[in-house]
Every structure is written in structure tokens, then in C-alpha cells.
Amino acid sequence: MQKELKGQIKDFIINTFLGGKGSIKEDESLFESGLIDSFGMLELVAFVQKKFGVSVKPSEVMIENFSCVNKIVQFIDKKQKGS
């Protein structure tokens, strides 16, 4: 389940921010590497909401929750278990 989730997130990042080419590591910092800026972060949040049916609260939109693929998966997992 988690593997599938990670794959979908990676695919989105590669298609949206890398033009469909290249690869990213699951613990690679998306912001520090410069791959994603604040605008990209919101694109990512929108994707997570639409794709996984997760409702993200304003106070949860922070870099810590979306800093790398692993963190995003953890966040989705926590939200899905909580709801």
C-alpha cells in the first residue's frame, strides 16, 4: 500500500517538476534541492487532496509535512487513519 502511494507521489513529482524524466529518492529534500518552491508546494498539496481524498487544514500546510516523499506518505497515512 505504502509502496503504491510512494510510486504515485514520485510519478506526480517527476511528471510535474522534472518534465517526466529523471528520478527522485524517497528521502530527498524537495525544497533544499530546489526541485520545488513555495508555488510547487501548493501544487503538491492540491494533488494530495484530490488524489487521495485527504482534507488538509490550513495549519497543516507546512514544509515539514511535505518536505520529501516519505514525509508526504507519513502525512497521508496519519490523515487517513485519523479520519
Binding site: 517538476f17 501548493l42 487532496q49
Partner: protein, 381 residues
Amino acid sequence: MDKILFFLLFLTASFLGYWFLPHKSRSPFLLIASLFFAFSFSAGYSCLFLFNIVIIHYISNILKNKNDRGKVFYLRLSLLWLIGNLCFFKYNNLIFNFANLLLPIGISYVTFRLIHYIVEVYRGNIVNTSFIELAVYVLFFPTFLAGPVDRFPRFNSQSREIRKFEIAEFNYGLLRIIYGVIKKAVIADRLAGFIMPVLHAPQGYPRGIVILSVYGLAIQLYMDFSGYTDMAIGIARLFGYKIMENFDKPYFKKNIALFWRSWHISVYSWIRDYFFFPVFGCRASKAMIYLGTVVTMVVFHLWHKATLGFLFLGIYHGIGLLVWQLFQVVKRKYSFFKNVHSYRWPGLISWFITFSFVSFGCIFFNSNITSAFNIIKRIFM
């Protein structure tokens, strides 16, 4: 007494007192020194700051024992109070015109720190803080006047750390202060002497000189502002504190998004984390994100100053960022653009366009709207 002499005496006394005291007395001492510094500007406003710190500290303790609904209520109450305070004083003369109040010096930075603190307490990222720790963070005198707005966890871990005086840190601090003084007093102030007469009466000068003055203005603003930051970082380092940097070679960046990640970093990242992300982050619509980019830039600039010029500047940079984001979409679609920045000449052209875009925006930073349009008229007509 001369202001500079007063500050030097105050700094020397604070420095000696701080390092002679044992570790547990240093934070209370820094708070007293910072309060003395704040009171030297205005006793009344310093009491207001203290009152706000007491309230936020009190509410932060309540937040720890509340359920989710209760927490949201207290968070909203705190934000309403703090933002209300800032807006009232910042825009009093423009909107309320109540009793000709002066703008309290340092109110923006005090408010930003308190909002950051209460939001992070709400999120559970800050726990177990004493009143003195919070007050030292908010009023820390090296960064009281012009920032940077450091983050509490980073700052407080340094307050708690038992430190010994280190000559290398002291030397670094002094060097940063000297850099700051040179940037501000030697470069920025002298440059202003050359360019301001041109920008105030552009019709009397050749077009080339006016254009050069606009670029000069961008450099002057950077030297002025980053000079203050260097001094603040240097003074903080004399007390062993490593404060976050506010600038990262902004005029060498090759696009406007990178520029904004390297200019006034502490406040820009604050606006991003506590305005752009929470307000526009969960809308799940691209149009809202685009709108959010422009609105955030407008808010950021109107925070600087509530004038027509700053409103224009906010829209100008907002649209700049928007165009850059739309260009990213195009870039992803067409392979020709993908590696365009890694080539030398397109890289130089990107840098020149970015620097020119930012420099021309500075016209609105420095002048009223009529003078700004006079400069533009002289350049383009």
C-alpha cells in the same frame, strides 16, 4: 546624549554583564537589557509589547490543555489581537486617524515573532517555554529594530545552551558589524548622494544617467538594508547567538522566484509559512494558487508601507512571479527550454532580466507614485 555614543555604552555594558554572569542569569539579564533598549524608544509602546508577550504566553499555556476546537478558538483570538494591533498602529494614519499615534518602533518584528510562536505552539512544535525565554526571543535587542525574524526553536536552543566566551565568535561578530557599517554608512549613504538628485528631478538628466541611477538605487537599497542586517547579526554574535541570515546574494539570481528566496529571507519565509501556505494552501485549485501569489506579494509590500507605490510594487512583483510560474509550465512541455539556464549566455540574459526587473521595481520603493512615473517617463519617452 549622542545616540551612537549611547548605543556603544549600552552595548559595552550589556556585553560585559552578559559574559560575567553565570549561565542561568544570562537570559534574565538579556531581557532587562532588551527592555532598557526598547524603553529608550518609547516606554508606552514597550509596555504594550510586554503586555502582548504576557497574553500570548498565557494563551500558549491554555492551548496545551485544550481539545482541537478549543485550541482553534484561542489561536484565532490570539491572531486577531496581534494582527489587529499591528494593523491599527501601522495603518492608523491612513484609515482610523486616531490621536495622531506614532508607529511603535519594532512592532512588526515583535508581532511576527509572537504569531510564529503561538502558531507553532498550536501545531505542537513548541512546548515547555518559560515567560523569560519567550520575552528574550521577542525583544532581543540586536534584532529588535530591523530583524531578522528568527524562529523560536532555533533561537531558544541557543539561549538554553551553556556557552563560554569564544574569541573567534567575538571577532566574527565585530567583522560583521564593520561590514554592516561600511555597507550602510560608506556605500549606501554615499551612493544615495549621487543618485537621489537624479531620481528626484529626472527631467534634468540624460536618459543613460537616469537608467544608471535606477540600477544604483537597487544597489543602494540592498547595501542599506543588508548593512543593518549585518550589524544585527554581528551584535547578536557578540552574545554568542547565531541569527538566521536575511540575504543570500539576491542580485546574482537568475530568476524572480530565486530572487525572492534570497531577499529579506526571514520575513519572506514568514509570510510564506504563515500567510501564503495556510490561506491558499488547502484550496486545491491552480487559479487560487496563482491569485495567492499576487495577493501575498501585495500583503508583503503593504506591510512595508501602505502607499499607492507599494501597492503597485506588490502587484508588479506578484505578476513577475506569476509569469515565472507560467513559464515553468511552458518549460515542462517543450524540451528546448528545459536546460536553457545551464548554458552560459541564456544564464547571463536571465540574470540581467531578473536584476533589471528588480531594479526598476525599486523606483516605487523609493518614490511616491508621481515621482516614480516621472522617472519611467524620462526613461521610455
